[in-house]
Amino acid sequence: MKITFPHMGDMHIAVKAMLAGLKLDVVPPPPITKRTFELGIKNSPEFACMPLKINLGNFIEALENGADTIVMAGGWGPCRFGYYAQVERDILEGLGYKFKMIVLEAPDSRLYDLTQQLKALGENVSLWEAVKAIKSGWNKLNAVESVERQFDYYLPRAWDKDRVEKIYDKAVVNIDQAGSKEEAQEAAHKAIREMSHLDLKPGQPLKIGLVGEIYTLLEPAANYDICRLIGRMDAEVSRSTYLTEWINDHLLGGMVKKSVRKKLVNHAKPYLKYQVGGHGLETVGHAVHFAKMQYDGIIQIGPLTCMPEIVAQSILPSISAREAVPVMTLWFDELSGTAGLTTRLEAFIDMVHRQKIGTNKHVKEA
């Protein structure tokens, strides 16, 4: 059995470690490239949202590399994601691939269910080994994210931005290859130490809050690496969702870290009173949260036609007016080009910068 799974940001590092812990053969899909997009777009329904198309491209490339089992998450709506696995299976079978699909139908379940499902996946694994496998994946993910947060901090501040990116990219590879928790943490610390020795620009950069749909937020290929684009414009990005937080809230039931979800729901209440599936409520909650934290601007991103994000998009202008923070929405589909994206980001950041000069005398004009 050779297992594969879809990409989502740095998730592959954790999943690889976890499946290896379950003594399974893993064939991760190759990194997302133009070919992944092309394969996905060619074979997906035209109006499906972009994550499905990238998923499908991942699967086709992994099956070409010899995978024969696909692990995919499920769900019970109302967001389309819950039906992804079914449509993807039909499409892949229609293309003539032979494979087995395992759908983990438990996005809001308890840790015990997850362990059981994973245990069922690994054939000769004890419960203890299953727990250990989950822990090993979790540790690597935490290590990657600690570097990522520092990366978001140093990229706008450093003079030598290429260097920051290089350190980060190398750290991710090192953590991926690390054999133990200690090695992973050592790789993370080394990268953070290196970043802290860089020459920094004086003054405080602009702070931009990035909110939106989780896949688009976490997968650089789906958002055309928007974090780096903004970082290179000397603005600090804070993402609303990190993978560890999401896993903690939805898979581990808030057991490992303190959940902030309740606070978000309260933040969103004056604007959106009901959950709308996907990350609609989180988007609204985080936008209010960022506004209250005195962020200079908020950018919402999502795949085109994403239903929960459209609800959030309709509500964001009233947040923008009441909390006095500029908000911009960017939709991503397979036709987005980076030039247009860069221009819009530059204009937004210029505008935010000017507004800040208008209200705050301490910031000098660039």
Binding site: P45, P78, R80, Y83, G94, T305, V311, S314
Partner: protein, 329 residues
């Protein structure tokens, strides 16, 4: 007291219930006009660009009602109208979307309909809404029961080939005659609020009738058989309307007199993008056409496609009687 009900979205499924409920509680019920060009223009202006066409049209209806002296406007939050199923995320945030986009609104009556797990909250919300008009809880419950009865009565009208929009007009006393002659049998599927709205669907059903087709919609089919067919696919579709579409498509395929199936989808509709794909993959023996519409669609293009589809069916019918031709080459 005057209560306004926008003539969009779930108006087509629940209007008799809402109207009877408010009237029995002593309110005067006002609706916006049937969707027209102005509704569309007003809606497109107010809603975000990425919203789907029916949502934009709904914005137009609400804006039209805003021009009238109303005490309340009824914008329900429909989360789930049956256990373990949803409508669509946009319905779940509809009152909030409207409030954020249209500043000058009459007071909104927003009732949350969520019976995905339990109907306890719905019952409480019905009382809460009723108490705006009267403190007699018995009267409120009675009004709701009468509403349900009227809804049942209206839906019973759909047993012939009438669609929900026609049933609503007949329920209010109009008489509608259907053409008696036809030479093709078609199944037409889609979300009722776009399919039965003559402006959104560009009069799709009547156009087909004029071309000599007898049109069957979801509501004309036996609902138990639809559910049974929908249960055949591996994972239950968790959108109420989507599941009915899938079930109807499979049921229609099993009916020998049906010549072809048309699915009307709205651009940007999330459930449609998945459901349409499932249907087109499951249908093996009957021709299937998916039409996607938005506010820009020119009528001529759609008419051409309908004519071509019908022509193709006619020819196929003539040949099939001699030897079988697969619907997919």
């Amino acid at each position: 007291m005057k209560v306004g009900i926008p003539r969009g979205l779930f108006y087509y499924y629940y209007y008799p219930l809402w109207k009877t409920f408010f009237q029995e509680l002593g309110a005067e019920v006002v609706t916006s006009a049937w969707t027209n060009r102005q509704t569309v223009e007003k809606g497109v202006e107010a809603a975000v660009d990425e919203a789907c066409f029916p949502i934009k049209v709904y914005f137009g209806h609400v804006r039209e009602l805003c021009c009238e002296p109303l005490d309340y406007i009824f914008i329900p939050r429909l989360v789930s109208v049956e256990p373990r199923s949803y409508i669509c995320p946009k319905f779940m945030g509809l009152p909030d979307m409207i409030k954020a986009s249209l500043p000058e609104l009459p007071a909104i009556i927003d009732i949350t309909v969520d019976i995905s797990k339990t109907d306890r909250l719905l019952k409480r919300d019905i009382i809460r809404v009723g108490e705006i008009f009267t403190h007699n809880k018995h009267l409120i419950k009675q009004a709701y029961q009468h509403g349900l009865f009227q809804l049942y009565k209206c839906r019973a009208l759909c047993q012939d080939e009438y669609n929900m929009a026609e049933a609503l007009r007949m329920w209010e006393g109009e008489e509608i005659a259907l053409p008696a002659n036809y030479n093709l049998n078609l199944g037409v599927l889609g979300h009722g609020y776009s399919l039965y709205d003559q402006m959104i669907s560009m009069n799709l059903i009547n156009r087909l009738r004029q071309m000599g087709c007898r049109v069957k919609v979801v509501e004309n089919l036996d609902q138990d058989s639809v559910e049974a067919k929908a249960a055949e696919i591996p994972k239950r579709v968790f959108w109420t309307l989507g599941r009915k579409s899938v079930g109807s498509a499979l049921l229609l395929e099993s009916q020998p007199e049906i010549d072809g199936i048309i699915y009307l989808a709205c651009f940007g509709c999330g459930p449609d993008s998945m459901v349409g794909e499932i249907i087109s993959r499951k249908l093996k023996t009957k021709p299937f056409m998916m039409i996607t519409i938005d506010e820009h669609t020119g009528e001529a293009g759609m008419v051409t496609r309908l004519e071509a589809f019908c022509d193709m069916l006619q020819r196929r019918k003539a040949v099939v009687s001699e030897n079988y031709i697969s619907a997919y080459g």
